[in-house]
């Protein structure tokens, strides 16, 4: 999997904008957020995001118009509307404009994550036409472009960030990765997440992939230093 994926958010309500930012950031996207339509269009041209998350009821240029302008120029970047407008006509209009999805507020965080991952998978599939480079760690097989892993019995849903962490551990198998290295590589130098963010993320990832998260075999803690994956040869 190549560089990080960029997502643009246009949302005028600050607390909801922050919430969406945090959700997308946690998933592993590089996030660009804007409070109105004008700035969002400008940001779109500058950042060339991989997909857009648009509120419809923006004060100046609404989300429909942003989508219309982007599509008019032949751009097919995926668009997801996220709006408090729940009428069928709005949903139809959004989808007719070429939106990929339509989420109604108030939204459920798990639902938003599932839908965002679905869009991310489509983007990854389009950008990586060649055969997928899967890798095996412990008892699981990781499919980076599908954002999933399999343990032989179950399909495990992963975020972009989960895949980045597992890829790094696999690349450097049998070597210790420091916390700074992990933060740098998987969160990026532009963000300085708090230490607890890393710990929480690792603990949640272990719950997904480890048979016994309290006695992890894939992501092992090296106390005072960081983490490592030891390949059982």
């Amino acid at each position: 999997m190549g560089e990080s994926m960029k997502v643009l958010i246009a949302e005028d309500e600050p607390q909801t904008r922050k919430y969406l930012h945090d959700i997308l950031d946690k998933e592993g996207f590089e996030v660009f957020e804007f409070e109105n339509g004008d700035k969002a269009i400008e940001g779109f041209k500058k950042q060339q995001p991989d997909f857009l998350l648009l509120d419809i009821g923006l004060e100046d240029i609404d989300g429909f118009e942003i989508c219309r302008q982007i599509r008019k120029e032949g751009n097919k970047t995926p668009v997801m509307f996220i709006t408090a407008r729940d009428s069928t006509i709005d949903k139809i209009m959004g989808l007719e404009l070429g939106a990929d999805d339509y989420i109604t507020k108030p939204f459920d965080i798990q639902e938003v994550i599932a839908r965002i991952r679905a869009v991310a998978r489509r983007c990854l599939a389009e950008n990586n036409n060649d055969s997928e480079e899967l890798f095996i760690m412990g008892g699981i097989t990781v499919y980076p472009n599908q954002l999933i892993a399999e343990d032989g019995e179950h399909r495990i849903e992963l975020s972009l960030r989960d895949v980045k962490i597992l890829s790094l551990l696999k690349q450097k198998q049998n070597n210790v990765i420091t916390r700074d290295e992990l933060l740098d590589h998987c969160w990026g130098v532009h963000i300085m997440p708090e230490s607890r963010t890393l710990d929480w993320h690792i603990s949640q990832l272990r719950k997904k992939i480890e048979k016994d998260p309290k006695n992890p075999q894939i992501i092992q803690t090296v106390h005072g230093v960081g983490y490592q994956y030891k390949d059982a040869l």
Binding site: E13, Q15, T16, K105, P106, F107, I109
Partner: protein
């Protein structure tokens, strides 16, 4: 008295946020959201008293996601009803709806705060 359904929705939402981000984020997020709700509530009440219909509808609209983000689903639903009403034609029904909204919102906030304590 808050219904069991409302409590369940708040619990479920806050559990999901905690599962994704951890308990510290969850508590901070509720705290920040409640502060914002209280700020907007003052604005909503001003609009109500001054019969500023458009501003009232816009402010009520903001409560849909603001409340919904932390699981205050009943308040979010009542806010959706309020945003469609014309405050310039004040009726008894409207006053009841507004009073219900304030009561439910207060109860749901108290419950959400208890959940993250």
């Amino acid at each position: 008295m808050l219904s069991e359904l409302s409590k369940e929705k708040i619990n479920r939402t806050l559990e999901s946020i905690t599962e994704e981000f951890g308990p510290v984020y969850s508590a901070e997020f509720v705290q920040m959201s409640v502060l914002e709700i209280q700020k907007r509530l003052d604005k909503l009440q001003d609009c109500f008293e001054n019969r500023q219909s458009k501003k009232f509808q816009e402010t009520a609209h903001g409560f849909i996601s603001l409340c919904g983000n932390i699981g205050l689903q009943e308040s979010a639903q009542l806010a959706r009803q309020l945003e469609s009403l014309d405050i310039s034609i004040l009726t008894d029904d409207f006053s009841i709806s507004f009073r219900d909204f304030l009561t439910i919102l207060h109860l749901e906030i108290l419950y959400a705060e208890e959940c993250v304590l």
